[in-house]
């Protein structure tokens, strides 16, 4: 069975999260990190991938509407089962990539 690629679903949210967490990360770096995150989501075990993409669709829709980012941030804070794990997954993949590839990155994402 052919897989739906993750990038169109997780990409915009992952990018927005990185802008928030690491505002000084260069756009080219950010694109590289987002591509890595999507690649990793593509290789998740089938059930987890299905769940991640389902939750990712909700977040993608929120990010797409004006003011939706505030809604997304609210959703991230709610103690809902598994929903909070989605941004955590995006962040952990992203941070692991950033500091492994550019270890002198500052806390705001600038290259030292």
């Amino acid at each position: 069975m052919r897989q739906v690629p993750a990038l169109p679903i997780v990409g915009s949210f992952a990018e927005r999260l990185l802008v928030d967490d690491l505002p000084d990360l260069q756009p080219a770096q950010r694109r590289e990190v987002v591509a890595f995150i999507a690649h990793r989501v593509d290789s998740l075990p089938s059930f987890t991938r299905f769940g991640v993409l389902a939750i990712g669709t909700v977040f993608r829709m929120l990010v797409a509407v004006p003011g939706g980012w505030l809604g997304a941030k609210l959703l991230m804070k709610l103690p809902l089962p598994f929903v909070g794990e989605y941004p955590r997954l995006m962040r952990s993949l992203g941070f692991a990539y950033v500091w492994e590839h550019w270890p002198t990155t500052t806390p705001t994402g600038a290259l030292a």
Binding site: F47, T48, R91, F95, A96, W99, E100, P107
Partner: protein, 477 residues
């Protein structure tokens, strides 16, 4: 295409490689089928994302769902978990073996025999302590425990040190360096890059295995006996996909861990190795040790409380990551779902587990302070940083397992061995109950999580069971 062998071994990790060696050296015709690739040690940086891609299942991103979910990792390459792990060697404790024998009614089992197999394993994989000084992150564990009067020790590893006595430059004596070459020398064949999708079973006997290749084609493998050694997640999943009934996949046992990062005055970070000391003062319930701490992993340990902990990330050369691991009373499940390639894995921590994680993290923070940490950053949402003993109490109070990053690398007990029908998926030598020629011989067999790093237990049991198979000629098939 099709393949044929007297004995098919699925998986080439700690269980599969040792099983293959015993059977091939006894003159049997052995075929090992491994889903991952053969990756030469040294060709990837340990604990890097590249290693995750090449040698771990799903890039190392696998999770047992629960509240909280527990992230776990499995090796997927020739040699399985033994290629990627920390190499820390612990014999199974004697009293635990006695308990397993009694509680699970493991027949013809003498713990002393198993420990003498452990002696052989130690020689075969060169278990030893580091020849020179310990790394600075390891010294932290030693000195912190010593200051508190807590029991601690250097854990020996399966390593050689061909480049002098630098503790961080050892070469792991994993299965691709030890048992797999031995098995192949004795005539075993190893094929990599093939995943066994299912076994075809007819009247209590497996007759063939269906393998899939990366190009999407399939291959049929016929055999007289099959040894399923895919690890504690994949073995029960494969058995379930094949329609095997019984106590399979219902009692996943793990050692859940919580982590913290500690910052010191001087540089100490070792990006590509782990500390060799462990603190066992509260064992078997609770143990402390050190994790890999490359800059990416330090950043990960800070991310749960990023708004306040982010300031520390540039200090990673002065930081190292440590864990508190518990012997959990909780259990998990591995469930195959029709038409899904991978199983669903769940795990439920008990109330006692959660409390143990809480006290474990607090004690670990205390140990860090005693070892001279300037500041400690626990990995849970809402965590305060810890600079003194008063902060430890505040942190302990604020902790909740559901807010924490809980992880494990020790997965066991999904096909427990023994003769207690309602608790055991396999008999006292790993043959699946109710099936004549299907055997399990990996971490799935361990009746419970052992409370120590499990690879030695996995190997010793696998060798014992394979020898029994040879001695009895696989007579029950």
């Amino acid at each position: 295409m099709s393949l044929d062998a007297d004995i098919l071994i699925i998986g080439s990790g700690a269980g599969g490689a040792t099983t293959a060696t015993v059977l091939a050296e006894a003159g049997l015709d052995v075929l090992i089928v491994e889903e991952g690739a053969w990756v030469e040690q040294g060709s990837v940086v340990p604990f890097s994302l590249d290693q995750m891609d090449q040698q771990y299942r799903s890039g190392g991103v696998t999770v047992a769902l629960g509240m909280p979910s527990i992230a776990y990792t499995e090796g997927r390459c020739a040699g399985g978990g033994t290629e990627v792990n920390s190499g820390l060697y612990w014999r199974p404790p004697g009293e635990l073996l006695e308990r397993w024998r009694h509680d699970f009614r493991i027949a013809d089992f003498d713990p002393d025999d198993l420990l003498s197999i452990a002696d052989e394993v130690e020689t075969a994989i060169n278990v030893r302590t580091v020849p020179g000084p310990h790394s600075a992150p390891s010294e932290v564990l030693r000195s912190g425990a010593a200051a508190l009067g807590w029991q601690h020790s250097e854990v020996p590893r399966w390593m050689t040190y061909p480049h002098g006595d630098d503790a961080t430059k050892g070469e792991r004596q994993s299965m691709t360096r030890t048992y797999l070459p031995r098995a192949m020398k004795a005539g075993a064949r190893l094929v990599t890059g093939r995943r066994i999708d299912r076994l075809v079973i007819d009247g209590g006997r497996a007759t063939e295995a269906i393998a899939s290749l990366p190009d999407g084609s399939t291959e049929r493998i016929t055999f007289r006996h099959v040894f399923v050694c895919g690890g504690a997640i994949q073995s029960p999943a494969l058995l379930q996909r094949s329609g095997v009934k019984g106590h399979i996949g219902r009692t996943l046992a793990v050692h859940p861990t919580v982590k913290l990062a500690a910052r010191f005055a001087d540089e100490l970070n070792v990006p590509d190795d782990v500390p060799v000391h462990q603190v066992k003062e509260f064992a078997p319930h609770l143990s402390f040790g050190g994790s890999a701490s490359n800059p990416g992993l330090v950043a990960l340990s800070l991310l749960d409380q990023w708004p306040t902990f982010r300031r520390a990330v540039t200090d990673w050369p002065r930081m190292s990551v440590y864990y508190a691991a518990i012997t959990s009373q909780g259990r998990g499940r591995v469930m195959s779902v029709p038409r899904m390639k991978d199983p669903i894995v769940t795990y439920r921590l008990t109330h006692a587990d959660r409390e143990l994680l809480r006290s474990g993290l607090a004690r670990l923070a205390l140990l860090m302070l005693e070892a001279g940490a300037e500041e400690v950053f626990p990995s849970f949402r809402g965590a305060p940083s810890v600079k003194n003993r008063r902060d430890v109490a505040t942190m302990q109070h604020a902790f909740s397992a559901t807010k924490a990053t809980v992880m494990t690398v020790h997965l066991c007990s999904t096909v427990p061995m023994g003769e207690v029908a309602e608790r055991c998926g396999a008999d006292s030598f790993g043959r699946v109950h109710g099936y004549r020629n299907i055997h399990v011989n990996d971490a799935s067999l361990l009746p419970t999580a052992p409370g120590v790093n499990p690879q030695a237990s996995v190997m010793a049991f696998a060798i014992r069971n394979a020898r029994h198979f040879v001695a009895t000629g696989g007579s029950r098939a």
